[in-house]
């Protein structure tokens, strides 16, 4: 069994964060999203992993993951170039996959329960493919699977007006090599992409059984800022916490807090977990970090109240405002305008920024 992580796409819904990097490297609980996929594959015993790259961020992703040895896996890069659809991305991996089965995992997805159960289910039968499903409240907005009593897929429909079930396809699939022959026979859809649902439908038509696995725990596609915050909250709510850094006497730290070895919580700062604080970050006196906050590396928080927020890193936060439900990009400065005349906000904003003042 091999693994394939799809890491293309423009990340347009995550602008301006993705103006300077790929969406797969946006951190959730201080870990880039793509690392969750690598770890899930490794945990399932898959160590040969292909990472499919688009145009955007291909150097950054390679620089981050390297040859995979830091994660105990062996990574081969596959350059898809143009984003011609999930089935095209899978198809570019044919030489890498060979005659093996493989897991295809969207690199901006996070799944709480991992993929081992899904793989066990797939390997227990003679399936042409396996798909992960989750019950959703708005099935008309998703690709939907119709399944029989034994869990075999009988039909896939894209964003149906009259959904046969509320079981949506999420971004994790298991394929036998039969998928490649199907991909060869499909044509681009109306949007010019090779659709993976078309290829799976063809595998079904070819007489293969398609396994389904309903994911009971949470799953997140981290395509939008609010999804990053939600994923951050979901990951942090299971945080055990470890105070490996410095907590000065007089600091008030409670709840699960992950404090990196070179991070510091100074006296008279308050941290209420679950919170993650990364390397070389200092939380200075008078600051308050509330639950579900992740502060990336090399940041300074000086007297600011921050809650349910992701600060990606290398930022200086010293304003007197309360920051909630926010995603702050790398290298940002949030200072105070107090005492500066004329009174008012002073902003240097990049394209596609979104502020509620």
């Amino acid at each position: 069994m091999k693994g394939l992580i799809l890491s293309g796409g423009t990340g347009s819904r995550l602008r301006p964060i993705t103006h300077t990097g790929p969406k797969q490297l946006v951190p959730v609980a201080n870990k880039p999203v793509i690392e969750y996929a690598v770890e899930d594959l490794k945990e399932a015993g898959i160590t040969e992993i292909g990472v499919v790259l688009g145009h955007k961020g291909r150097e950054e992703i390679q620089a981050h993951l390297g040859d995979g040895s830091a994660y105990g896996v062996d990574i081969t890069y596959i350059v898809q170039g143009n984003s011609l659809g999930l089935a095209h991305a899978a198809g570019t991996a044919r030489d890498f996959v060979g005659e093996d089965d493989f897991v295809m995992y969207l690199g901006d997805n996070i799944l709480k329960q991992g993929i081992s159960e899904m793989l066990d289910s797939f390997e227990a039968g003679e399936y042409g493919a396996g798909i992960a499903l989750q019950e959703v409240n708005t099935p008309e907005q998703f690709g939907i699977a119709d399944v029989d009593a034994s869990g075999n897929v009988t039909r896939l429909v894209e964003k149906p007006d009259d959904p046969p079930t509320n079981l949506a396809l999420i971004g994790i699939y298991v394929f036998s090599p039969a998928i490649f022959d199907a991909i060869e026979r499909i044509e681009p859809s109306w949007r010019g992409e090779l659709e993976i649902t078309d290829a799976i439908q063809l595998v079904l038509k070819d007489g293969y059984d398609i396994d389904s696995h309903v994911v009971e725990d949470w799953w997140k596609d981290t395509g939008k800022p609010e999804d990053i915050l939600e994923a951050n909250r979901l990951v942090l709510q299971d945080l055990d916490g470890s105070l490996d850094g410095t907590v000065e006497p007089g600091a008030d730290v409670s709840g699960p807090v992950e404090l990196a070895p070179s991070a510091t919580v100074e006296a008279d700062a308050v941290v209420r977990g679950p919170v993650s604080i990364d390397e070389n970050t200092t939380i200075e006196a008078g600051s308050y970090l509330g639950p579900y906050t992740s502060i990336g590396p090399a940041c300074r928080v000086a007297g600011t109240h921050v809650e349910n927020t992701v600060i990606i890193g290398e930022s200086d936060i010293s304003c007197t405002e309360t920051i909630v439900d926010s995603l702050v990009g790398r290298g940002s400065t949030l200072g105070s305008a107090e005492g500066i005349l004329p009174e008012g906000r002073r902003l240097v904003l990049g394209e596609n920024s979104d502020l509620k003042l």
Binding site: A63, V79, Q80, N82
Partner: protein, 59 residues
């Protein structure tokens, strides 16, 4: 749809034909590889098929 790729003989990175055709001559996109790759590294039939159906491989 036929998907055409080429594998870098030096590092094993797989490159799709649209990427090779767009650049014609390029360094392998794997960081630290530097192998020179060409659209002409593809077989004659692959090149011919790609060029005859180039609109399929464009966004």
């Amino acid at each position: 749809m036929r998907i055409i790729t080429h594998t870098c003989p030096n590092c094993g990175t797989v490159i799709s034909a649209n990427e090779l055709e767009a650049n014609r001559v390029m360094k392998c996109p794997r960081i630290d590889c530097g192998e020179v790759l060409r659209f002409s590294d593809l077989s004659h039939s692959d090149r011919e098929f790609f060029l005859e159906n180039v609109e399929q491989y464009s966004i």
